[in-house]
Amino acid sequence: MTLTKAQIVDSIQDKFGFPRKECVKLLETMLEEIKKPLTNGEDVMISGFGKFCVKEKKERKGRNPATGDDLMLAPRRVVTFKCSQGLKEKINN
């Protein structure tokens, strides 16, 4: 089983009793508010869950695995996740 947005919308609906459309909108608004700071390069830390970090990756040498050509990989920015102690304990118990 995979947890997806649909089940989270169900849980929100159970809790609030809002019409489903509004629950979908509420979840999407929340996701957007999480993505906004990350887009601006700001980390998002959720106590008890973990930290979404934005990491700057420097330019580096790479290789096209198909042709073997050397190429330069441009600097880029990626999101990483650091699991909190609480979540780690929850998963391991």
């Binding site: 997806t4 999480i34 390069g41 880029r76 999101v79 118990n93």
Partner: protein, 91 residues
Amino acid sequence: MNKLELIAALKNEANISKSDAAKAIQIFFDSMADAMAKGERVEIRGLCSFFVKSYKSYTGRNPKTGEKVTIQPKKLPFFKCGKELKDRVDY
């Protein structure tokens, strides 16, 4: 940004009370944590996905003392950034 700031941002954007914003955010992160505790995968389109990865026990070393220690088998969440977020965060 921390959880309190996220609650404030959601309160303003969704026009709901602070306590409702806090509840909704708690539901979101608790649902994901509960799913992973059961060993389930999590997939939130546009944001990220998680699956639980099992690591075997191994002999490590205490970097301070050089002593050998046995690391017990453990499970950790493995994070994969969603496509939309990835594209937005990158230059």
